[in-house]
Subunit: 422 residues, 2 copies
């Protein structure tokens, strides 16, 4: 079994100047190749601590991927320290030096700085990974039971070399494939999922089942390991069905990227268009819809009616309703949804009005009280949420997700509220 450690080298990671996105990218790739990643480590540009990290890693992993420290400057020391730790000589490769010099002369059209020759030094007998988007080559070698791969730190160089060289190298070592399905849910909490599926999740090893909290929603990932893709597919299907049966209509999609993506697909299929009328979410629904490329086919636009006068003047909500019930009320939510359909001509209109906080509104409505309206050719519907004293952005995110979920539920003929308890 291949078990990997990803060892990133770079003081900028320890200072928090950048996140370790290389480790994430490599982990995703390895998980797709069926290589287990058990450890990520980050050390600074410090030879002593790097050597210490290598000593620990070689004892617990048989695939060790270092990232960073391959460049030409004095603090790029990964190759020297790795060679020392694994007892390999670092040798000067004339062929690579010539390539580098050629690159400078014909492509960059400047003389090569002499310190760049350090990039032509590589562990004796290694497999060279050429760098499709930069100058520092990477490499791989096998020593003392460990496959050592060295990749460059700049994310685009790391990614290019990973796909072009490291993946084929690792694939040749393994004969398994790993496949996943993401089951996306809204309207159910992590502990409820845990109670429904706990036994299953703890017992299942292959396929495995795990939960991931996303902002204001939930993802369940089923992963199967097999000899072939077909075999993995066949293992996944019954588990996905079982989860679907257990969770019911809180599932909004499988392998869909977001609720708005699910809504976009449904609107396209049914040749309908949507408009938004937002008060407390202040454009968040509109913004999320328009993040999707090509959404203009189904999303017409919307109104951010933050002031009461904008609800009346732009959306045509009657002043009588606003005076009698206040802006945060079911009648106003309905009138906003109907109003935005009227002014934009959309078949579906979703509205949100509520108190996002930090304070109660002038009528004393508490933080977290939200009304949503959905205007459709079959009538106008309404939902009331009491989200409690959560943070402002959390209330906005939950309200926006609920609005999108109402659209999704309407278009799939489901009741507009989840039928099970949260």
């Amino acid at each position: 079994m291949l078990s990997a450690e990803i060892l990133a080298v770079g003081t900028e990671l320890l200072l928090g100047s950048i996140a370790n996105t290389n480790a994430q990218m490599i982990s995703q790739s390895l998980s797709g190749l069926g290589v287990n990643v058990f450890w990520h480590t980050v050390v600074g540009d410090n030879p002593g601590r790097l050597e210490e990290a290598l000593d620990i890693a070689r004892k617990r992993a048989n695939v060790l991927i270092t990232v960073g420290g391959l460049g030409p400057t004095y603090d790029d020391l990964t190759k020297e320290v790795v060679c020392r730790a694994f007892g390999r000589r670092l040798t000067f490769r004339g062929d690579i030096a010539e390539e580098l010099r050629g690159l400078y002369e014909t492509v960059f059209r400047v003389p090569m700085p002499e310190n760049n020759l350090r990039q032509a030094e590589l562990p004796e007998g290694c497999t060279v990974f050429d760098n499709p988007v930069g100058t520092a080559p990477g490499c791989a070698f096998y020593e003392d039971g460990v496959h050592v791969l060295m990749l460059p730190g700049p994310p685009e160089e790391c990614e290019a070399m990973l796909h072009r060289h490291a993946e084929p190298y690792l694939r040749s070592l393994s004969d398994e494939v790993l496949l996943s399905r993401d089951i996306l849910c809204f309207g159910i909490g992590e502990s409820a999922v845990d109670q429904l599926l706990r036994d299953k999740m703890s017992q299942m090893k292959n396929p495995s089942l795990a939960t991931y909290a996303k902002p204001a929603e939930m993802c369940l990932r089923v992963t199967a390991k097999a000899k072939t893709c077909d075999e993995a597919e066949a293992m996944l299907a019954p588990v996905v069905d079982e989860v679907k049966k257990a969770l019911g209509d809180v599932i909004y999609g499988v392998d869909v990227s977001s609720l708005e993506e699910a809504c976009k697909k449904l609107l396209q299929e049914q040749k309908l268009s949507l408009a938004t009328a937002e008060s407390c979410t202040g454009g968040l629904l509109a913004q999320r819809m328009t993040e999707l490329p090509g959404v203009s086919a189904v999303y017409r636009g919307g109104v951010v009616a933050y002031w009461t006068s904008v609800k009346a003047d732009v959306l045509g909500v009657p002043w009588a309703l606003l005076d009698e019930f206040g802006a945060v009320s079911e009648p106003v939510a309905r009138a906003m949804a109907e109003g935005v359909c009227a002014v934009t001509g959309a078949e579906l209109g979703i509205s949100v009005t509520g108190v996002a906080g930090p304070d109660a509104d002038e009528r004393g409505n508490p933080v977290g009280l939200v009304y949503l309206g959905l205007c459709t050719p079959k009538g106008t519907f309404c939902r009331k949420l009491t989200l409690g004293r959560r943070k402002r952005e959390r209330i906005r995110a939950l309200a926006a997700n609920t609005g999108l979920d109402m659209v999704r539920r309407f278009l799939t003929g489901l009741p507009l509220e989840p039928t099970r308890e949260k």
Copy 2:
């Protein structure tokens, strides 16, 4: 000297489902507190490997911060394993259980799932860190020469607990103060800042000067280390003045959280209100304004005019203009800004119309072409941006920032475009 290791626990990190942004956030914070971070480690939800990681960490760090694994489910095992490793009893805290139960009954209004009681178990004699945005408390204790801090994994919970509890806890361990000023800029690139201030940045140690790229903008941080706050303040002031002189009017604020925050303050001071009319940014400007608590005093609302018909029907842009010049044009940007002032009654109106991609529009306007309009009591102004083939979200972010910067520049009497080269 305090030297820290950040140990994140979570299989989702090893699968590459998420990046370890918590480690980045904590590293930034610790670097601001003068605590050296020498190691990041990630392990999965596996008790054996977590114990192994703790054994290694306690030998090389005197501040150990664990992240994740504090929740109610069976794979949340950080507290148990940490207690075992450090020889502390894990005790059930009735007071915390009561708080949790109260939260469920009065706020969530559902009975608390019994597995949630696991969150009330904490190491004996620890300092409890309550969770301002979730349910799982964190904690800190000192054992065998090591300060152990446990923070929750969901990034917003981790961040809130870091600022509210972990930072004061760590600050109390050190006898130096570290003070920073963030100088925020828009309209200048990192390499231009580097060219203007490179010598200064490389020579200065205390105060130090560093750049941080934020999405579509730039932050310069000046940091001073001293015995007292007054001393640190006195060291910072002349450096801030010097940077202001060097960069000029691309600076939109010092210690301001965002361009929209700067706009909100100016609008409040001048008792003016703003409205937005957005096409390609699709509600992003509105959403960013309304993320600010209390913004309803100065932000009236807006229109997301994604379809051309919405530009005409809701904003009153004349069809003649739309037919002659197309939706992505200076006359339409002007008419949108004026239209949104007319329908909302706001004194200032900002509009955005452009091509965010991935494809050119039906008139052949290229990706990255954006017009912005600003309607004011002194007339309507316009800016044209050619942002090139950048990613969709990057074009939207740059366009939104430019719109906010136009408002900021108008309200401070500056020319609407930066006077120096980018």
